[in-house]
């Protein structure tokens, strides 16, 4: 794979990670100052495309980065869906009323 392709893949991944973490973290400090983001930056810098060597290191940073991005994105999307379709569960009374029935005033099941 051309090292340029890998470089672009790395850049895109970095951008998406940045965006995802920006959305998800609630912190007073800037994202670039948080230890977690600084770690990501250091990982990308450490395994930069400088020459043909370090291929394994690059691949690993990209794979781990993609996995982490997958986790963050999936959590966000799951939450968005949950929010969009949030409903409160109907009570038995409400369910019965839906079809024109009434819950009996006293239960006959408990008669011992």
């Amino acid at each position: 794979m051309a090292s340029q392709q890998k470089l672009n893949l790395g850049r895109l991944l970095f951008k998406r990670l940045h965006r995802e973490m920006q959305t998800t973290i609630n912190s007073k400090e800037k994202l670039v100052d948080t230890p977690a983001f600084r770690y990501i930056v250091s990982q990308f810098k450490e395994h930069q495309v400088t020459s043909q060597k370090l291929c394994k290191g690059q691949n690993e940073v990209i794979m781990v980065g993609q996995t982490y991005l997958c986790m963050l994105e999936s959590l966000r999307k799951a939450e968005e869906l949950a929010q969009r379709y949030k409903t409160t569960e109907r009570t038995v009374q409400e369910s019965a009323n839906l079809v024109g029935l009434q819950v009996p005033s006293s239960s006959s099941v408990d008669n011992k």
Binding site: S27, A36, M63, T67, M71, S74, A78, A82
Partner: protein, 259 residues
């Protein structure tokens, strides 16, 4: 002891801290919520053997808004499981539990009907099975009958050896992945960098993928399912990767038994 450890998960806990940070302490990494040390549900000190894992966990805590949604904090939950070992499992128990999935491994079960689905299974699953065979030098066949496939003893042995090589932390992560994917082979595919999490999850859900293409997709059910699975499996994969012996600063055993 902070209140939240004994709070049942049905009660929503308000976010009670401003900032989560990590601290290194004798080879382990702890998480601080403001000035207080994070603890596990049973009150043990929360500590993990890997810096990126600790950072990701701090990020989980920093991602909470008004209430703590513990069901979304997979890395924290997995760590708590290792530290507290609530089910009192030994390494042997965990490995045995994982191996049990081999017999019922998703990608070993093939149908003959409908032919389109049989084809899809062959196209998608067979390459992964072939990869396992050549990568681990084992024999393993799929089955079309209702009975579990015959697992050659050597195959079980080789996979068991692979699992034994994982330390306590990576083992718990691996098990979580297998449990969610319903497949050892797919989880091995992830940890051996053959498959992305998204691909593994898709392969795990192949029947549903096939059905929804025919009968339609219901996003609040099907997509929610996908995102949930992906978040869990991704957490499992990260846990295995970050806690593996060459990554973690220490591989103290947490579980006392010898195997």
């Amino acid at each position: 002891m902070l209140i939240f450890e004994s709070t049942p998960s049905s009660i929503e806990l308000k976010k009670f801290y401003e900032n989560a940070t990590i601290v290194q302490n004798q080879g382990w990494f702890e998480v601080n919520l403001d000035q207080r040390k994070l603890r596990t549900p049973t009150g043990n000190l929360f500590q993990v053997p890997s810096e990126p894992l600790a950072l990701a966990i701090a990020t989980e805590w920093n991602s909470q808004k008004d209430t703590i949604k513990r069901q979304a904090m997979h890395l924290s939950t997995l760590s708590n499981t290792v530290l507290d070992n609530p089910m009192q499992r030994s390494r042997k128990d965990i490995i045995k539990g994982i191996l049990h999935f081999l017999e019922t491994d998703t990608i070993l079960y093939r149908t003959t009907e409908p032919p389109e689905f049989a084809d899809l299974q062959k196209r998608e699953w067979e390459p992964v099975l072939e990869w396992l065979r050549s990568s681990y030098q084992v024999e393993l066949e799929s089955t079309t009958s209702l009975m579990p496939p015959e697992i050659p003893a050597n195959t079980t042995h080789v996979i068991s050896r692979k699992l034994t090589s994982l330390n306590d932390w990576a083992l718990v992560g691996f098990q979580y992945g297998v449990e969610n994917l319903k497949s050892i082979i797919l989880m091995l595919g992830i940890t051996d960098k053959l498959l992305t999490v998204e691909k593994a999850v898709q392969l795990s859900r192949l029947e549903t993928v096939f059905q929804t293409k025919t009968w339609g997709n219901v996003d609040w059910h099907h997509d929610a399912d996908i995102y949930q699975l992906q978040s869990r499996v991704a957490a499992a994969a990260l846990f295995v990767h970050w806690c593996s012996n060459d990554m973690a600063t220490t591989h103290k055993t947490t579980y006392s038994d010898q195997t």
